[in-house]
Amino acid sequence: MDAISALIVDDSSVMRKIVERSLRQAGITLTRVFEAGNGAEGLTILADNRVDLILCDINMPVMDGLEFIQQLAGVPNAKDVPVVMITTEGSEAHVVQALSNGARGYIRKPFTPDQVKEQVIPVLTSKS
């Protein structure tokens, strides 16, 4: 798999670091990692940068993850970029809403690096 760039959107800086580490443990080579504390910050980053993968929490201040992935439809740099949600919200309703809003995968916290690998590798593989 080619090296990729990723955007990690989570209001916890610790969780952003854990997600990045999990991606590396999954064998994914990261050329660049962008971090955002909420959906609005994520959109600002995507206005000027193209990434290959977006990982996103749901419950965040300012703009939550579900609104963020809805807004991605209007962002040229986010076209065809796979989004995987990583969240404590584990209800079927949240999963269905996230997937219908465009998410390609869903990981419930707490998670293992293996679970990240299982969700992320297929969406990157199918993209390429």
Binding site: S12, S13, V14, K17, P61, S91, E92, R108, P110
Partner: protein, 162 residues
């Protein structure tokens, strides 16, 4: 993660039956996110709990989930979560403990049918220090689980507002 799935409605006010779920929810978070097995406290008195993380629950179940531990235990958790040496841990401790409480609360509610969708979680609040009094509006005793992380107590409680 193990799924137990008792229902919210069948429990009524018999919330003490949720204690094993709270225990399981906490153990899973520590095992999956830190690779740590929590041990039973065996009556160990929980002292020196100087860091408290709290997450509010609202909706079908209202209350407050809290995780309390010593500064040393919180630093160890942060170190394990980030995969860094203990002496490299700094200001991330509050953020890490907040995330732990958030994950325990989320994992707990996902184990009770109907609660995952019907109960919302607040962002975590973290208090440092022990010289404070927390007055809850709860009219029932809190559900309390105390476990040991490498010999250090970690107290998890759920105060329920009926």
């Amino acid at each position: 993660m193990k799924s137990v799935n008792p229902t919210l409605s069948t429990h009524g006010n018999r919330h003490e039956e949720w204690v094993p779920l709270l225990d399981m929810a906490a153990r899973e978070v520590f095992e999956l996110m830190m690779g740590s097995q929590l041990a039973p406290s065996a009556g160990t008195e929980a002292t020196d709990l100087t860091i408290t993380s709290m997450v509010g629950l609202a909706g079908q179940l209202c209350g407050v989930m809290s995780v309390r531990c010593s500064g040393k235990a919180a630093a160890l958790m942060t170190s394990k979560m980030l995969g860094v040496e203990l002496d490299k841990v700094g200001t991330e401790i509050a953020d890490a403990l907040g995330e732990i409480c958030n994950m325990v609360a989320g994992n707990f509610k996902n184990k009770i049918t109907g609660l995952a969708e019907g109960c919302m979680l607040s962002p975590p609040t973290v208090i440092t220090g022990s010289d404070y009094t927390l007055r809850s509006m709860s009219d029932t005793p809190p559900l309390l689980v105390t476990l040991l992380l490498e010999g250090m107590p970690v107290a998890i409680s759920l105060e329920i507002h009926t």
